[in-house]
């Protein structure tokens, strides 16, 4: 006869005992001196016990499930690598998406680990402290496993070995760096809105769901297993971000105005960060499952509308930038890829003109904009390349002082006009890619005048390798910057004619014949 013993405690009781009941209030020092950071942003909290992690995950269960995730992940990685998996991806061009991912994503995971370690220390309640601690460990896991999975590709292809050096120096990696630098130097509650809400809810859904499903579709089991393993943690992270927003709104009506400003700011910053992720989906995956536009509609417009309709009960309104993002979804990926294509000597990954069937796919997915604005540019650039005149912009890019994207997006309502904004602050002129970034600057100018902008640093003589005299009369910043970035020349330029292209073709040939 089957005898089932009932569990000693239910999930809710277990969670209460293993988190809140293990916390205590300090007595040698007053609580507000032990936790000084939770007050200065103006957020008012009256009862920290009202915060509950909806997953009700206790630390012992956390270790058990995370260990199981790691075992699954490494079993797949080992099998993929043992099986020469890198030769089973659809096309040699695909590997370039991993180079871009490696420079742009794992370093941000590490920043997230740092941020959640810090915020976990700063929060008063046991619920958010435990959830932040788990998220910090998760982010560290993502940072390590992403690098580990791509390390096998690094044995065979160019451009991956200096990503850590390049992350804080190279122009195109500055948008992600500035996003996290901005968040981590804010207070604990703003950090939670920036990362827990905007980054997790808006950005990771697109980066780790349709993009990673696309990696699987292109035969990359390594990226697939790492991406989905990371995203299995993100469901918990999104819940933490949403819980934090609800908690602030429920604690005091005065919090609404502050929270709304953060939602407006960070939704826009997340949107700008996504332009390059969208470009990865539309241009860098040889086989595509959905366009960035379709992903944006599912994960931002529909999912975002569900969220903001629900939060309307607290007085929250949809982010100010919502309408502009809907207009821009038809443009940003094309503008981004054109921007990268035009700077072939400035990235450790290759670019290319999409093939005829790929141009047709883009026309089909972007019926309102592609044939009208972008196809003619690609056809012109393609003809120039075939005539031996491949476009090569050698100038320094102009960057937005807030999001640090290169200024390349169009004026709202006018796709043929580039959008520029400027503000004079203390006698100095600052440039922006959009009205939203300008407004963010004007709210906190003292913060954003400190933004690291690679092109400015180069022109000031700060981006030359040691031993170069930056005061010499004939000093030219552009001629040293590739060395400063430790940019491998084999990794630059068009994919056509690259060493990667030749090697991939030769090795794939060897893999299928004797």
């Amino acid at each position: 006869m089957d005898m089932k013993t009932s569990k000693k405690l239910g999930l809710k009781e277990r969670y209460t005992m293993m988190t809140r009941d293990l916390a205590w209030d300090t007595t040698y020092q007053p609580m507000d001196k032990v936790f000084p950071q939770v007050g200065y942003e103006g957020i008012k909290i009256h009862d920290w016990d009202k915060w509950e992690d909806p997953f009700r995950l206790t630390m012992d269960a956390y270790w058990k499930y995370q260990a199981e995730k790691e075992r699954k992940l490494y079993a797949i990685l080992d099998a993929f690598n043992q099986n020469n998996g890198h030769l089973s991806v659809t096309d040699g061009r695909y590997i370039n998406v991993l180079k871009l991912f490696l420079g742009s994503t794992p370093p941000l995971e590490l920043m997230a680990a740092r941020g959640f370690s810090m915020v976990g220390r700063q929060m008063v309640g046991a619920g958010p402290r435990v959830a932040c601690q788990m998220q910090a460990v998760d982010e560290y896991r993502h940072f390590q496993t992403q690098i580990h999975s791509i390390s096998n590709y690094n044995k065979f292809y160019n451009g991956m070995d200096e990503f850590a050096h390049q992350q804080s120096r190279m122009w195109y990696l500055s948008d992600g760096k500035s996003f996290f630098d901005d968040a981590i130097t804010a207070g604990p509650f703003e950090f939670m809105v920036a990362i827990g809400f905007a980054f997790e809810y808006v950005l990771t859904n697109i980066l780790f769901v349709p993009f990673i499903s696309g990696a699987a579709y292109n035969g990359d089991m390594a990226a697939m297993t790492v991406g989905f393993s990371a995203q299995s943690d993100e469901a918990r992270h999104m819940t933490l971000g949403l819980e934090c927003i609800k908690f602030m709104l429920e604690q005091d009506p005065d919090n609404l105005a502050i929270v709304q400003r953060w939602i407006d700011k960070w939704t826009w910053r997340g949107t700008r960060k996504l332009a390059s992720v969208g470009m990865m989906m539309d241009y860098m995956l040889p086989k595509r499952i959905m366009s960035f536009k379709e992903a944006w509609e599912i994960y931002f417009e529909q999912n975002g509308a569900a969220l903001f309709t629900d939060l309307a009960r607290y007085g929250v309104t949809i982010p100010k930038c919502f309408a502009q993002t809907v207009e821009e979804k038809e443009h940003v990926t094309h503008q981004s890829w054109l921007g990268f294509y035009m700077k072939p000597e400035s990235t450790p990954f290759h670019t290319w003109i999409p093939g005829p069937d790929e141009l047709d796919w883009l026309s089909e997915k972007y019926p309102n904009t592609f044939d009208k604005y972008y196809r003619p540019m690609y056809e012109y650039l393609d003809a120039q390349e075939k005539a031996g005149n491949r476009f090569n912009n050698k100038t320094q890019p102009m960057n937005c002082q807030v999001c640090v994207n290169t200024i390349k997006y169009n004026e709202p309502g006018d796709p043929m006009e580039m959008c520029f904004r400027e503000t004079v602050y203390q006698g100095e002129k600052f440039h922006f890619c959009s009205g939203h970034c300008q407004e963010i600057f004007e709210d906190e100018p003292e913060k954003y005048i400190q933004t690291y902008i690679s092109s400015h640093q180069a022109l000031q003589g700060n981006c030359a390798p040691e031993g170069v005299d930056t005061h010499a009369p004939d000093f030219n910043p552009g001629s040293h910057i590739a060395d400063y970035w430790r940019l491998d020349p084999r990794a630059t330029g068009d994919f056509n004619g690259s060493e990667d292209q030749k090697n991939f073709a030769a090795w794939r040939d060897l893999a299928t014949k004797n």
């Binding site: 999930l11 995730k69 859904n205 697939m224 629900d310």
Partner: protein, 90 residues
């Protein structure tokens, strides 16, 4: 206005049973299969019942095992020993 709660899983042997259980317990569920993943949308409220999953799997199932297979969720979460619920506007 109706909003969809949703959940996405990696496709594997365990989630095949979980998805079957969700479809039976949530009239109106829309299942979308994409490479390596499956996404289920339900208007307003999506519930996963432990007993239904156990019946499909033919073994005991702790709802926290969902953590191993989850890709993403949408909706406010409430989790007990018996039910994992995602909802909007409740």
């Amino acid at each position: 206005m109706t909003s969809n709660a949703f959940i996405a899983f990696q496709t594997n042997d365990v989630t095949r049973s979980i998805v079957e259980a969700i479809v039976e317990d949530n009239p109106g569920a829309i299942v979308v299969e994409q490479p390596a993943m499956v996404k289920i949308d339900v208007p307003d409220r999506l519930v996963i019942r432990r007993t239904s999953v156990e019946e499909k799997l033919g073994r005991d199932f702790d709802l926290q095992e969902l953590q191993l297979h989850l890709i993403t969720i949408s909706g406010h979460l409430d989790e007990t020993d018996d039910e994992f619920t995602l909802s909007w506007n409740s």
